[in-house]
């Protein structure tokens, strides 16, 4: 395979001039550039990225670590992050962590290893105890969960306020026996804890007694888990008339599970999700949900990372909480 040296020889110039042409540096005579480009074409030369990265000390790549690439929320967020990063001349590599603490740490290590210039980490498995591990030398942005007092930039979703609004929405539509289908990580500041708090706050504010029998904890935030949760709620005969779901993917499973039992949505039970994934618009009934402004999340994540990469000297880690809105659709109609 041809190297930059071969091209230089063929074009009768120095390797450095070839490098200048490749990197679009200005001070190359037009005629020289033409000669070099022709030689590149003739030899079918392609730059060796490993060599370039080694020498340049950076990779022009940012890592995006998510629990699962095939969960719509992450896939759709990834598409936006890729688009934003591309605009800034960066490539994005998606890492799958499996919501596992070990793998999330290993994504951090990957970036230490200089495969990436920076990392966007959708943290699920990390906890407050991992705080020190985040004191990394590589620019990093944590997404979606609050690692308390973390020493890196952090973008939080409006977990509590969003779920509060979702629950209020159900109460306003007449629901009184409102179930919450959530995750099983109830540690402080987990997504489940925060969203649960929003649910409880709404109930309290409207004087509705919380009933522990209406709270279902899922080990996996999948549609299948949601469906089984719905079966349990119906079969338990608890008179449920509304369900707050921790994610849209779970909510779509809940709707399916209610259909399995012949329970009509929104007639008998109203359902609300969280995320506003694309699928929420096309389900039957379409899903009422909390839109946490994905575009802002993606934009902010990339912008914060780029700011860090630009090496702001007086950089201070910041915490951002995105806005949200309730998107009312048929499932609470």
């Amino acid at each position: 395979m041809a190297t930059l040296h071969d091209v230089a020889k063929a074009a009768g110039v120095s390797p450095m001039t070839v490098s200048n042409v490749l990197n679009k540096h200005p001070h190359v005579r037009a005629e020289t550039r033409e000669r070099v480009l022709k030689a590149i074409d003739d030899l079918g030369y392609r730059v060796n990225v490993a060599a370039r990265n080694l020498r340049a000390g950076r990779t022009n790549t940012i890592g995006f670590a998510v629990p699962e690439v095939d969960r719509p929320y992450f896939a759709q967020l990834a598409a936006r992050v890729i688009a934003k990063a591309q605009d800034a001349g960066y490539r994005v590599v998606i890492e799958q962590t499996g919501a596992d603490r070990e793998n999330e740490l290993s994504a951090i290590v990957s970036s230490r290893t200089r495969m990436y210039d920076g990392l966007i980490l959708s943290a699920v498995g990390l906890g407050t105890a991992d705080r020190d591990l985040l004191t990394t030398d590589v620019p990093m942005v944590i997404l979606g969960e609050s690692v308390f007092d973390s020493p890196v930039d952090h973008i939080a979703l409006p977990n509590e306020d969003g779920t509060y609004a979702a629950t209020m929405h159900l109460i306003d539509r007449g629901c009184r026996r409102i179930a919450m289908v959530e995750g099983d990580d109830v540690s402080r500041l987990s997504v489940t804890s925060l969203r649960h708090a929003g649910y409880r706050r709404a109930l309290a504010e409207r004087g509705i007694e919380p009933d522990p029998a209406l709270v279902v904890e899922l080990h996996e935030l999948s549609s299948e888990s949601g469906r089984l949760a719905a079966h349990g709620l119906v079969d338990g005969g608890r008179g449920v008339d509304g369900v707050v779901c921790i994610t849209d993917t779970v909510a779509l499973g809940v709707i399916r599970g209610l259909a399995d039992r012949g329970v009509s949505v929104p007639g008998d039970v109203k359902v609300v999700g969280f995320d506003d994934i694309l699928e929420a618009r096309y389900s039957v009934p379409s899903l009422t949900t909390i839109d946490p402004d994905h575009d802002e999340v993606a934009r902010l994540a990339v912008d914060l990372l780029l700011a860090r990469l630009a090496d702001a000297p007086d950089w201070q880690p910041r915490e951002h909480v995105t806005g949200f809105r309730v998107v009312a659709r048929e499932s609470t109609g």
Copy 2:
């Protein structure tokens, strides 16, 4: 940042010994290994992947180029490819091509550029004319579309036979006015052409006159396009009683569009998709579809690539067509 040389100095050994420890080569005395590992830990050393790749001449990474990372079919396939590749010690980088010919070629170029040891390309924009461009020096597997007589390994979906079976399934359930919602690339051997052929073959075999007014071509294979197509079919008053959809994502939009018009599925109109994405199981009604055996696709793609990487001397490009089965669910019940 500490380098391998720093570790060597700290441990009192040569760089090569450190390298041997890092790469788990056997002939290192246990005691020496311990000393090296301690030095690595003390210094917080991480290998520089760019340097390793440059020297080793490979990256242990395979590229997976898909039209859109956020389309469920590709996201779910990517998850499987990642899992299979991981088992074999490879990382996977997902590239988004946007179903654009230029970008698909640039994914090929990326692999020429040695970012990847091999490439799995989900071809949509490539055509027969690009045949020569595929004569690449980098191992490659083409997925999902038939680039006629391509000089690389190729895994085709059962496009024609699968759609034939889907159409027969509708006919067997009593449908006679069967629409087909497909893409707008009607060039020879495109996904649309192949699936359309299966649809036509089934109609012909059962003596049903094909009606061009029942064929809808979509520019984008999205749920939104599917929904609009359904509106058009209903509003056109063409007496449709069945719809064959080119993908599940389109089919879910069609079901939604029929619901918009108060048309009941499967009562008034039966709907069948293609892909068996996860969402097909949870929609209301659940979606009858063609399962093209994703696991086999992912396994085959990775296996073929690994075989090529292993440098089989008498390698010949092969074409594989995966099996399929009709998964009957409520939408044709």
